[in-house]
Amino acid sequence: MGLEELAESMGQNVLTTTLGKVIGWGRGNSVWPAQFGLACCAIEMIATATPRLDIGRFGSEAMRASPRQADLMIVSGRVSQKMAPVLRTVYDQMPEPKWVISMGACASTGGVFNNYALLQGVDKIVPVDVYIPGCPPRPEDLLNALMILQERIKAQGIMPRQ
């Protein structure tokens, strides 16, 4: 958080291009996911960590079990009514800056299940950066989403998130 305060204290007067690029490059290439595997998409997320697809080469090798050490929450699977407060608590426990990828149709919009038991989309309780359609999406889709997110993180640089 210190970097954001530094940027704010300098106001908009000082351009921090190179520093911002370096920070963005560092952050983008070492996004650590907090494993939040809920259902079937979690199996494809685990498959992304295996040698054939290897999310480790994108910097996300360390899938932290504790949200306090993670930057990215990959919501993979359907979010039920009972699980929603738990998900929000885990999201709140993650330190800034943090991002959310909603993996799969169930996490993005409720998927095949349009009924009482599921949240129709995880964006009802947390802000989502990238949505991945599919049921379940291929592991390559998850890597694609990660790359999109990395571009955004690098472009954001040092500016505080809105």
């Binding site: 299940f113 349009n114 009924n115 038991a117």
Partner: protein
Amino acid sequence: MIADELVADRGVSAGDQWITVSAERVRDAMAALKADGYRLLTFLTCVDHLADSSREWPARFELVYQLRNLETREQLRVRSFVDGDPPHIDSVWDIFPPANWDERETYDLFGIVFNEHPDLTRILMPDDWVGHPLRRDYPVGGEPVDFSEEHEKWLTAPEEA
């Protein structure tokens, strides 16, 4: 053999044998069947016959117990009909331990109260949920879908009795 006076009706449906017992005698029937050799309760569930015109039903809720004899591999389905608000029936968890969670689930989703159950609380829905979702007059819920002929029905419910 289970005593004939306990069996109210019997039949075969798609190759499966079934019998009907009255809700008050369900514990006696279960104990008799277990002594007969049907020692495994495969599952226990409930069917809601609200607005079901396929035949005459004695009551709205039908409890279904599927029993199996591990030695002869025979299966038997036991039905029991209950009504009421909320419907009551005796618990069989001490005769068949797998019924413990099955009865909690049936209570959670249908509202059937099992007498003498050690811990009859909600198991699948959150503890403060109101209503019993699998009853036919509980709407499917979710969000309306455009251009779908059924989308209006999905949020309103009850099936006319």
